[in-house]
């Protein structure tokens, strides 16, 4: 056992040496893999990925490896693109009982969630160990208009451009949780009215020094996405009414009961960032995500961490498959769908030429919880290895 451990340690050590020995010079690495799940172009068995300066230069079975390039042998491993968490709240607070929302003001559109992010939080390391390489940092669901989420890559130790989007849109919440007894709105009708009032005001806003209206103005112009929390059927219906009225470029967040009106969601091409499949759910609720995707709704998964364990973003997708979601759709929900919904698909979400070399290496099928994540690579750099302590 110990001998085996030591051996694997040596292997990892040599791999990391070969990956890091390039220093600051332009790095070219070839990775030979047993199975490459490209996501957008099927599964390549016994393929090669050429990583050049943090980008994927080539991928396929018949790929020429340039002379003098070290080959990383992963021929018994599975490689998938870095997993993208559609919505989470990591690194935003000192404690697990994080406060993600403004509790006194109902409207916080000018608030940037990135300002509260601690890039050295231990959550970041935890996310990496679970194969998550990019996240949308989001506020919670207690503010009717709730601040601007950010999209960040999790190689935050480097002083490079890990912030992909400082402001990825504006969050809205039409959920009952946005109602409070000690500040407006206190009723559902009041909540809808308040949101509309803000959008009306933003619509007629010309110019000036009002950051709140400035950002909302970009939302009603449909060039900045609106991320709308709505969970139950009535909340989703309210969201769609507002989306229609103001012609918003919108994404539904949560939509747990969305399967019941999946046709209406699909008709509007509204993508959904789906909340974690809770391990206390009844079978009936676990089947909802598969039904919704079956109706043609584009889905991405979210951990909402620390509400659930970051490790279980992948578990969510696996459970969705167990309860009826198509396997391919599940993998897309962890990668390319999330990238498209968050507007970063030009760089992330699949193993294709020209995209960032954000890769997750597993010792088995990515949609099995018993498969371990052995290594995580962001921009061609190893950011997590299983045996490191």
């Amino acid at each position: 056992m110990i001998k085996k451990r030591f051996l694997s340690f040596l292997i990892v050590l040599s791999i990391s040496l070969c990956l890091t020995s390039f220093g600051n010079e332009p790095q070219v690495i070839a990775i030979r893999a047993g199975k490459i799940w490209t996501v957008t172009d099927g599964v390549i068995t016994d393929g090669i990925i050429i990583v050049d300066n943090g980008k994927i230069r080539a991928v396929g079975q018949e790929v020429d490896v340039p002379e003098g390039v070290n080959i990383l042998d992963m021929s018994d491993k599975n490689i998938i693109p870095g997993i993208i968490d559609g919505h989470c709240h990591i690194g935003l607070s000192l404690d697990i009982f994080s406060e993600m929302d403004e509790t006194v003001a109902a409207i916080a559109a000018d608030m940037l969630i990135l300002d509260a992010f601690n890039p050295h939080s231990k959550d970041v390391k935890k996310a990496l160990s679970s194969g998550v390489t990019t996240v949308m940092l989001a506020p919670g669901y207690r503010n009717p208009v709730g601040g601007q989420p950010a999209v960040v890559k999790l190689d935050t130790s480097k002083a490079n451009d890990w912030v992909l989007k400082r402001s990825a849109g504006v969050e809205f919440s039409l959920m009952n949780q946005a109602l409070m007894f000690d500040r407006e709105p206190t009723s559902r009708a009041g909540l809808i009215e308040l949101v509309k009032e803000q959008l009306n005001e933003a619509k007629v806003y010309q110019e000036g020094f009002n950051p709140r209206l400035e950002v909302l103005n970009r939302v009603v112009d449909a060039n900045l996405p609106a991320y709308i929390w709505a969970h139950t059927v009535d909340e989703i219906a309210s969201a769609m009414a507002i989306i229609d009225q103001y012609n918003l470029n919108a994404v539904l967040v949560a939509a747990g009961q969305g399967d019941e009106i999946a046709d209406m969601i699909a008709k509007r091409d509204l993508p959904v960032i789906y909340p974690p499949l809770l391990l206390s759910s009844k079978d009936k609720d676990l089947k909802r995500v598969g039904k919704m995707a079956g109706s043609g709704v584009k889905l991405a998964f979210a951990s909402l961490a620390p509400r659930t364990d970051l490790n279980d973003l992948r578990t969510s997708a696996i459970l969705a498959v167990k309860y009826g979601l198509d396997k391919e759709a599940a993998l897309k929900g962890l990668t390319i769908n999330a990238a498209e919904i968050l507007g970063v698909a030009d760089r992330l979400g699949s193993i294709s030429e020209g995209k960032d070399a954000d890769l997750v290496i597993l010792n088995g099928d990515p949609l099995q919880p018993a498969s371990s994540i052995e290594m995580v690579i962001i921009n061609g750099n190893i950011v997590y290895q299983r045996l490191e302590e």
Partner: protein
């Protein structure tokens, strides 16, 4: 008896029809006997049997008789007239156990408001009509262990139930008084402040010390009673033989008040029942180990969230652990105790040689259906496959003292059997059939 009935019946019939009726009757008897036989005897012809206590058996057969496993192996003779379940190409394993279940309990019924209440039994707060129960059995979980919650310091005793579909707690019950549940440093009762933690520890210790005194006083009383009985006998004898002599009647010792709290804890201190202590953080786990050292009781460590930080100490103590949740997602909201939760906990403890059962420890009863998923997540985070499977079958049965009945496929044990389309740690394997004591409690309908 049936034969007797038919003979009596025959007596009143004319001779010419006797022959015909005799044939009919014997056919009827044959039918009855075959019918009852097939109810008693079942053969499962499996692809791969995972007995858990032993190496896997390829193309094996399990013979079930009267709800028990009568034989298993590769060359088992099967009578042609018994029911055969064809599980060719499928996996067969013992029913899984959720060692931290909340099925049948409503949150408020988990604890009494008193903090020291070891005499309570979880059986008195169960609702067997909870609808999630069939969903749990349908995932191959055939037995659950439920205990009082963590709001009381000593909250009462837990029980093992079988998910046999009965609505009668008595019929589901496999064994009660498994262990007395205690909790140290759980935020539900004291916000986990260090002051509360000291208080928890000392309150439990105080209760155990009082029990020691109680046991001492009870023994003293019993000795005095014995002495009194002896004196009384002498007195009666003397009164009979020498009635003239004046003798003092012996004085009866003052009555000893039996106390249910201390009676139960006395069983803990005399090692009849283990004390199961829920402890999450290192301090609390070490305190639990310290208590077990001081009072010499059988300790079961429950939850053990930060156990990986002191794996060697736990291994040295030989205390078994029922660990969970493997992932905090099994609970909907993060709790303060999970601050240092690590998915590798099970792998690290098990590698150090700790006897370990994996529980789901879910928020609701429905979570119990994810026992196999919990084991698979543990494997994905470094736990040995065999150990993980054992941790949801035989190890919990051993820790809970029910391994004579459940936990593995062995001759003589209950026929609690799960048939799966693939390996149990493959999350996409489907459960085909679940038997409890030979009776089918779940069968997949959409056979493909």
């Amino acid at each position: 008896m049936l034969k007797g009935v038919s003979l009596i019946y025959l007596q009143g019939i004319e001779m010419k029809s006797i022959k015909r009726i005799a044939i009919l009757a014997s056919l009827f008897l044959l039918f009855i006997s075959v019918g009852t036989l097939s109810g008693q005897e079942i053969a499962i012809k499996a692809g791969t049997i995972l007995p858990i206590n032993d190496a896997p058996i390829e193309n094996g057969t399990i013979l079930i008789k009267d709800g028990k496993i009568a034989a298993l192996g590769q060359n088992i003779a099967v009578d042609s007239d018994i029911r055969v379940i064809d599980a060719n190409g499928k996996f067969v394993m013992p029913g899984m156990i959720d060692v931290q279940s909340r099925l049948f309990v409503i949150d408020s019924e988990l604890n009494e408001s008193r903090t020291i209440a070891p005499e309570l039994s979880i059986l008195d707060g169960l609702d067997p009509y909870i609808e999630e129960s069939p969903e749990v059995a349908a995932q191959g979980v055939t037995a659950i262990y439920i205990t009082p919650g963590s709001r009381s310091l000593i909250g009462g005793s837990g029980a093992v139930l079988k998910l046999n579909g009965s609505k009668d707690v008595g019929e589901m019950l496999l064994k009660d008084n498994i262990a007395v549940k205690a909790a140290i440093g759980v935020s539900a009762n004291n916000e986990s402040s260090s002051l509360g933690r000291l208080g928890d520890y000392s309150s439990i210790r105080e209760a155990l010390l009082e029990t020691k005194i109680y046991m001492h006083n009870k023994e003293k009383y019993e000795r005095e009673v014995a002495k009194y009985d002896k004196k009384m006998a002498e007195y009666e004898k003397k009164k009979e033989t020498k009635p003239a002599e004046k003798i003092d009647k012996p004085k009866r010792p003052a009555r000893f008040r039996l106390d249910p709290t201390h009676e139960v804890l006395a069983k803990v201190l005399s090692k009849e029942i283990p004390l199961q202590i829920e402890a999450h953080r290192v301090t609390d786990i070490l305190n639990a180990l310290r208590l077990a050292d001081e009072f010499d009781f059988k300790l079961i460590l429950d939850k053990c969230t930060e156990g990986y930080m002191i794996a060697e100490e736990i291994a040295r103590s030989k205390a078994p652990v029922i660990l969970g949740p493997v992932s905090t997602s099994f609970n909907d909201m993060p709790r303060l105790e999970y601050r240092n939760h690590d998915v590798r906990n099970a792998a690290i403890l098990s590698e150090k040689g700790v006897k370990l059962a994996l529980g789901v420890s879910g928020k609701d009863g429905a979570s119990s259906k994810f026992v196999a998923l919990a084991a698979a997540i543990a494997v994905g985070n470094g736990m040995d496959k065999g150990m993980a499977l054992r941790a949801v079958t035989l190890t919990p049965a051993e820790i809970l003292g029910v391994a004579d009945r459940i936990g593995s496929l062995q001759v003589g044990k209950d026929a609690d059997v799960v048939i799966l389309s693939g390996h149990p740690l493959d999350t996409l394997s489907r459960i085909e059939m679940v038997l409890i004591e030979g009776k089918t409690v779940f069968e997949r309908k959409d056979q493909q």
